[in-house]
Amino acid sequence: MLSKAKLWLGLVVAALMTLSTNLQAAWELNMTQGVTQISRDTYDLHMQILWWCVAIGVVVFGAMLWSIINHRKSKGAVAATFHESTKIEIMWTVIPFIILILMAIPATRVLTEAYDSTESDLDIQVTGYQWRWEYRYMRGDASEEEVLFYSNLSTPSDQIDNSLPKGEHYLLEVDKPMVIPVNKKVRFLITSNDVLHAWWVPAFAVKKDAVPGFINEAWAIAEEPGIYRGQCAELCGIQHGFMPIVVHAVPQEEYDAWYAEQQQAAVAAREGANSVVTMSAALQQGEEIYSRTCIACHQTGGTGLPPAFPALAGSAVANGDVEANISLLVNGVPGTAMAAFGRQLSPVELSAIITYIRNSFGNNTGDLVQPADVTTILQEAQ
């Protein structure tokens, strides 16, 4: 008997070991305490209500178990005849009510604090897109160079389709994270460009829906530098599981340096619109952008997922008129997942990606699109 039990135990342990892909963080049981005052308060609320539930559970299930063990017919138990008691019924209506009031008081306090988004040090507009986040840092005045960028999933599709081993931050990594200073009140102005999304960073206890046409507010004061990861929390279509959020909280000096760098990069991108690119550079950059921005819908090899996501291989657009092709990327296709990339990518990037799709997947137009061609159509669009 014993050896058989040991064998089973061994088998179970062995199964656990083999299937356990990441032993370190694998058995996370509880909510994070996070790195903000609100997230710690939220955690405390969570634990408080949990312990109330456990206590009530112990009493109720205990009474039940005791009856099940002792008041069974096989033990000769004879049923009592009582079937009501006003006193006891009032008691078990009033006591839960009092417990609820005890819970409602701290919950109200924390909620009131979480809703006070006034007097922020920095405002960032967060816009959800199918399926990426846009972060726009609000400027002090309009003459300043604006910092605005998109944050895409950076996990390679080879890891998702299991042809490569998965990295440590599988599905929770982005090409360009949001950067914020620590110990500053950062207000997030959250909206959406298409469907509903929800911006969620567990370490900040911030989860707010991104609603097209409306702006929601949330805020956080990160107290420790670090990398905080989250995900879109509202079903937003096919790639809902693939639009993570990464926030780097850094010391103020580091933040200032990063911000200045972003402003310079924005100037450089604008000036790049006048540059002339070569075929090989365009193809290389185009492939890079394709695998980051387009691949989720149009798939490896440009096969698409018809009918929602048309194939690019052999498509009429990618093999037809260049200007129509540029225009489609710049303006998007309203009512579909094809976004207006004129807002999301720079002219250099747009020209590279169009060159790439017109000369890949068996498409063979030989066209080399220059940033200036895109700029013309961008100006028309405006």
Binding site: L19, S20, N22, A25, A26, W27, E28, L29, M31, T32, T42, H46, I49, L50, C53, V60, A63, M64, S67, I68, H71, R72, K73, A77, A79, A80, H83, I88, E89, W92, L100, A104, A107, T108, L111, A114, Q130, I160, D161, N162, K166, E168, H169, Y170, L196, W200, K207, D209, V211, P212, F214, Q231, A233, E234, I238, H240, G241, F242, P307, A308
Partner: protein
């Protein structure tokens, strides 16, 4: 039917036409129950696809687009195809027998409300075979994902929902008419079995909210096809309006799926504790309070949409209040068991599991009511665990308990107790292995409705999947039990269960095709 004309003491027609033309509450009850079981297996198959894909990180079996179709269809089919029709089936079978009526008040309406359903679900599931694919926007079908960005099949979905709604409304009208008009002399309202009470209240909930659901899908239809902008901000509409209207239907809907279960458990526990139900009156009042509260808590599904703080606080307090009447019910069941003389046949096992596991779902519901904490729980697997605890070992266990409890009355044979117990224990273990780890997944940060996940969620996911496969496979045992029981088995007495009370147990087993063509002896109607 032709045989009926020359036979004064007529029984059912022969062949298939019996099932198409029947106006008999027992036949229609059986149709509902079989239909519900078929849908339960279909929705369960979709759940198996979901759990198989989530067994390991990475995409293995299905594309994300098909995954979303599976989550959507699983939810829609389980809610509208499995749970609701099962309760209507039980109502059909039991309410006339419990109140001493010969049949339902509106037999032809009854036939129609059932026969609408197969067509509604045929239409809904046929979208799986269309180019655009099945609805993929979740069973809550939030706009604008379900309008501007929806697959073309959304129109089939809308039409199917309309038909289901019409069926539910007619079924409810029938139940209310039956209960209010057809009770035997002596069967006063406060002597009705709780199953009848809970269904009476449920039927009112249905009549109140199904038109709201019809309204919201009609608004969608107009947004999709006729250029309106109810839910499109670009045209001056508001996507959040959709959620308010949907959840004004949706929250009462979740009580629609549990209240009749309360009634079932309130019948079974006294039987096997051999002791009268504790606090009958308070059970009735608690059910009515829950029904009332269900109309003023809807926005607790929407704590993260950016409501003003006054709204958040109102809906938090109102939601917490529901714990009071729900608690009363649980305390009453425990008090009924206390100092009883209990035995543990399969229906009792399911009923006890119901009380324990439904209460656990109630606890997490209380946690979810705490608005700031909900910001962390919302749209994670914690919510998935919560509503599956109240719906699977809650509603569905109560339906199974009912099936085992009344099966001898329906078929005239005792079911196989050994198989029944096997079914129970496998379901009980399966359901906990399936859903308990999902609490941890949600707290650790795994969003719901994702086809793939980060590595730290891998372990609890494979455990959950194994529980899912176990639970799924166990349900085939129920099919075997039911078929065996219909075909034969130990002859059931009229009383069936030693401690059972109520008019249905005064009828022979199986219950005759027509019952109470004359009112039962008022002396048979006992106090509750």
């Amino acid at each position: 039917m032709s045989a009926a004309h020359d036979d004064h003491h007529h029984g059912p027609a022969k062949g298939l036409s019996r099932w198409f033309y029947t106006t008999n509450h027992k036949d229609i009850g059986s149709l509902y129950l079989w239909f519900s079981f078929a849908m339960f297996l279909l929705g369960g198959t979709f759940a198996m696809v979901i759990r198989a894909e989530l067994f390991q990180p990475g995409l293995q079996l299905v594309e994300p687009s098909f995954f979303n179709q599976m989550t959507t269809m699983h939810g829609l089919i389980m809610v509208f195809g499995a749970v609701m029709p099962a309760f209507v089936g039980l109502a059909n079978w039991l309410i006339p027998m419990m109140i001493g009526a010969p049949d339902m008040a509106l037999p032809r309406l009854n036939n129609w409300s059932f026969w609408l359903l197969p067509f509604a679900f045929l239409m809904l599931t046929s979208t799986l075979f269309m180019d655009a694919g099945a609805p993929n926007f979740g069973w809550t079908f939030y706009a604008p994902l379900s309008t501007t960005y929806a697959p073309e099949t959304v129109t089939f979905f809308i039409f199917a929902v309309h038909i289901m709604g019409a069926s539910s409304i007619m079924g409810s009208i029938n139940i209310i008419a039956t209960i209010l008009n057809m009770r035997a002399p002596g069967m006063t309202l406060m002597k009705m079995p709780l199953f009848v009470w809970t269904w009476l209240i449920t039927a009112y909930l249905l009549i109140a909210v199904m038109p709201v659901l019809a309204g919201v899908v009609t608004m969608m239809l107009f947004d999709v096809h006729f250029g309106t902008s109810f839910f499109s901000a670009a045209g001056g509409g508001d996507p959040i309006l959709f959620q308010h209207v949907f959840w004004f239907f949706g929250h009462p809907e979740v009580y629609i799926m549990i209240l009749p279960g309360f009634g079932i458990v309130s019948a079974i526990i006294p039987t096997f504790a051999r002791k009268r139900l504790f606090g009958y009156d308070s059970m009735v009042y608690a059910t009515a309070s829950i029904a009332f509260l269900s109309f003023i808590v809807w926005a607790h599904h929407m704590f993260t949409v950016g409501m003003p703080i006054a709204g958040e606080l109102f809906f938090m307090y109102a939601t917490m209040l529901i714990a009071v009447p729900t608690g009363v019910k649980v305390f009453n069941w425990v008090a009924t068991m206390f100092r009883g003389s209990m035995t543990f046949e399969t229906p009792m096992l399911f009923a006890i599991a119901f009380v324990v596991l439904f209460t656990m779902g109630g606890f997490t519901g209380l946690m979810l009511a705490i608005t700031p904490a909900d910001f962390q729980y919302h749209d994670t697997y914690f919510v998935v665990a919560h509503f599956h605890y109240v719906l699977v070992p809650g509603s569905i266990f109560s339906i199974m308990a009912a099936a085992y409890y009344w099966l001898p009355k329906w078929t005239g044979h005792m079911y196989d107790e050994r198989l029944g117990k096997l079914h129970f224990w496998m379901s009980f273990i399966g359901v906990n292995v399936l859903f308990f780890p999902q609490h941890f997944l949600g707290l650790a940060g795994m969003p719901r409705r994702v086809p793939d996940y980060a590595l730290q969620f891998a372990d609890f996911n494979w455990i959950s999947s194994i529980g899912g496969f176990l639970f799924g496979a166990s349900q085939l045992i129920l099919l075997v039990v039911v078929i065996k029981c219909i075909k034969g088995g130990k002859k059931a007495t009229a009383q069936v269960w030693e401690g059972a009370q109520g008019l249905e147990w005064t009828l022979e087993s199986p219950a005759p095709y027509h019952t109470f063509t004359t009112p039962p002896d008022p002396k048979l109607i006992h106090d509750q």
